[in-house]
């Protein structure tokens, strides 16, 4: 969880630095690309994407293998717990599952195996928590719920937070703005759980207005029927609300921090001199200049939906990715944990890539050469 304003950072990165032209045979390719700077940029950006992808997947893989405690041992222990006769699992059992879970050979062999399966077969291997279902299927089963809950509440929090933050920055010094800012400073990091629990206590148990558990009413068949959607909404309301409340505060703070420097810009004074209405200045001049870094920030934060929100999911018994992840970790289901991590990496990087490719089109200022 980071606190400061650094959502804007992706733009800072595209600094202008003097770079000397190279000499050598690649000059001709360069000159071709030079005539299509956007293509050249896209190509280079894509290259970087591949490098980052490889790097992140590799680091993630080795990080897991570096966890203290022998994973194989844990794995075997897990097998033993499933054992009817309380005996040590036989060597045959161990060998079989070592192979099946890609735990054969030294770490490097395992790494190659993992990468090969991942890249060429898009296969993460079987999950342990739901053997022999492939890990990617296990993840995919809970992903839609998490995306539905966290995704929607993230969007709501973002939109409201952006608006509130812009206003708080704009009306800096005014009572309302200062109150909301200070509230955000103070409450921005209250655990979701705390909020969620209070909401449950008040709305579900005391007032009985809303359901406290599950994602929908199990009496209603899953489908696009109005009653099902209504039940989804009812069940999702409290968990989403707890996420939205805190999310708004965090976006408010970062938006406000971005907003304040913009308020000192000459073009805002100029807009004021033009006699424009404050609302117009706020939306067309101030917000327009800061929303892109927030879009980038949002894109990145969406990637972290893969983490799920374990506590809220557990409290509301929501069938999301967070609880799957925790189960996987407690059972040391490597394939599933790595799968979640890998998916998060791929999605964050891809979102970043797409945004970076789109940004030059959205923001005239972005200089897409390096």
């Amino acid at each position: 969880m980071t606190v400061t304003t650094s959502t804007a950072s992706s733009q800072q990165d595209r600094d202008e630095r003097p770079t000397e032209p190279p000499s050598g045979p690649i000059v001709s390719i360069r000159s071709v690309l030079a005539r299509h700077p956007l293509a050249a940029y896209a190509l280079r950006r894509f290259g970087l994407y591949l490098i980052e992808l490889w790097g992140a997947l590799t680091i993630a893989f080795f990080f897991f293998r570096m966890i203290p405690g022998d994973p194989i041992q844990t794995f075997i222990q897990t097998l033993q717990q499933n054992y009817v006769y309380n005996q040590q699992a036989s060597a045959e059992v161990i060998a079989r599952y070592r192979k099946e879970f890609g735990l054969e050979g030294n770490v490097f062999t395992q790494y190659l195996h993992h990468m090969k399966k991942l890249i060429f077969e898009h296969d993460l291997g079987p999950s342990l928590i739901n053997y022999p279902t492939p890990a990617q299927d296990v993840i995919m089963q809970s992903l839609p719920w998490t995306i539905g809950l966290l995704g929607i509440s993230a969007v709501i929090a973002w939109v409201l937070g952006l608006a509130a933050g812009a206003l708080a920055g704009w009306r800096r010094g005014k009572l309302g703005a200062e109150i909301s800012t200070n509230l955000a400073i103070i409450l921005g990091h209250v655990p979701f759980y705390f909020v969620a629990l209070i909401l449950v206590y008040v709305f579900a148990y005391t007032l009985g207005l809303l359901p406290a558990r599950s994602a929908y009413d199990s009496n209603i068949p899953i489908g696009f029927s109005p009653s099902f959607l209504l039940s989804l909404l009812q069940h999702g309301f409290l968990p989403a609300l707890s996420i939205v409340i805190i999310g708004i505060f965090n976006w408010l703070l970062s938006t406000r921090m971005l907003m304040i420097p913009v308020l000192g810009e000459d073009y805002l004074t100029y807009a004021e001199a033009k006699g424009l209405k404050p609302g117009r200045i706020l939306s067309r001049y101030a917000l327009r200049n800061i929303y892109l870094p927030q879009v980038t920030g949002f894109g990145i934060s969406l990637g972290f939906i893969f983490n799920g929100n374990v506590l809220v999911e557990q409290l509301f018994n929501y069938p999301g990715l967070g609880s799957t992840l925790v189960t996987a970790i407690t059972q040391l289901d490597f394939n599933t944990i790595l799968g979640v991590t890998d998916m998060a990496i791929v999605s964050v990087l891809t979102v970043n890539l797409v945004l970076d490719l789109l940004l030059p089109l959205l923001d005239p200022r972005v200089k897409y050469w390096r």
Binding site: D266, Y267, A273, G275, L276, R284, Y285, N289, P364
Partner: protein
């Protein structure tokens, strides 16, 4: 009809200060100045003498820690009743702006919204102040651009695609979009090189010729004043030390400071000893 009706602006006893950690610093000290309708008035003075502060106060754009400490500014727009610029507020102030009083800022580099097309930055003022002319925007913008010597295609560009000189001219074009009574130009040519400077000065002269606007041109470059203005007001440490016809100022400076100002102009043909 009194003589004052000729004056589009009258500053009397204007006093502006900045609150600093060392107390209030007076930047404009009891300035009295009358601006005649249709003239080009130059404000000269060394850096820090308070030229910009005066302009900003007049435009009501003064930001904290700056504060108007006293005086009044009477403004007589063509089609409206005279007002004290220091007293108007809210909607009344907004309507005065641009349709009567517009501004050519000092930092032209950053005065255009970087994420809006040039055309939209024109449209803004028109939609705000002359909604009736909304439909004309497509014809109006190219015409205005042409006025300052720019091609119509510039309308579709973004500020960062333009040079400093072009931006400055765009700001000028936006200034005259609603044919205001008064334009305050703060250092319109500083930071531009000489060739561009000359073009800008030409365009400024054209503005008065074509629209009859009153121009207040702030510059520390005496050459600019010599080339462009009708009258010069000389500022020194926040005070207006001398106001006079441009010829008088150059040929027969009254105030000591004005004299030293004129003397110190290096110029071609005046070689060092």
């Amino acid at each position: 009809m009194s003589e004052t009706d000729d004056n589009v602006l009258e500053l009397s006893g204007l006093e502006v200060g900045y609150a600093t950690s060392e107390g209030m610093v007076t930047a404009v000290d009891k300035a009295d100045l009358a601006v005649r309708r249709g003239e080009i008035l130059g404000i000269a003075g060394e850096s820090g003498s308070g030229k910009s502060t005066m302009a900003v106060a007049l435009l009501r754009l003064l930001k904290p820690p700056g504060r108007v400490l006293g005086g009044s500014i009477t403004f007589r727009p063509k089609d409206k009743a005279p007002v004290d610029l220091l007293k108007v507020q809210g909607q009344q102030l907004r309507t005065l702006r641009w349709s009567n009083l517009s501004y050519l800022p000092q930092g032209s580099m950053n005065s255009l919204n970087p994420v809006m097309r040039i055309k939209d930055q024109f449209a803004d003022v028109i939609i705000e102040h002359a909604p009736a002319r909304r439909s004309e925007i497509d014809q109006l913008v190219p015409r205005l651009l042409e006025q300052v010597g720019l091609e119509p295609r510039v309308a579709r560009m973004y500020p960062h695609e333009l040079s400093g000189g072009m931006k400055q001219r765009i700001l000028m074009a936006i200034c005259i979009a609603l044919e205001p009574d008064v334009i305050v130009a703060d250092e319109p040519t500083t930071a531009l090189d000489v060739t561009i400077q000359r073009v800008i000065l030409q365009s400024l002269a054209d503005l008065r010729r074509d629209f009859g606007v009153t121009l207040i041109v702030i510059s520390h470059d005496m050459g600019v004043h010599a080339q462009l203005v009708d009258r010069v007001a000389v500022m020194y440490e926040g005070k207006l030390v001398e106001v006079g016809d441009v010829r008088q100022i150059f040929k027969d400076p009254q105030h000591e400071y004005t004299r030293s100002l004129i003397d110190s102009i290096p110029s071609i043909g005046k070689e060092a000893s």
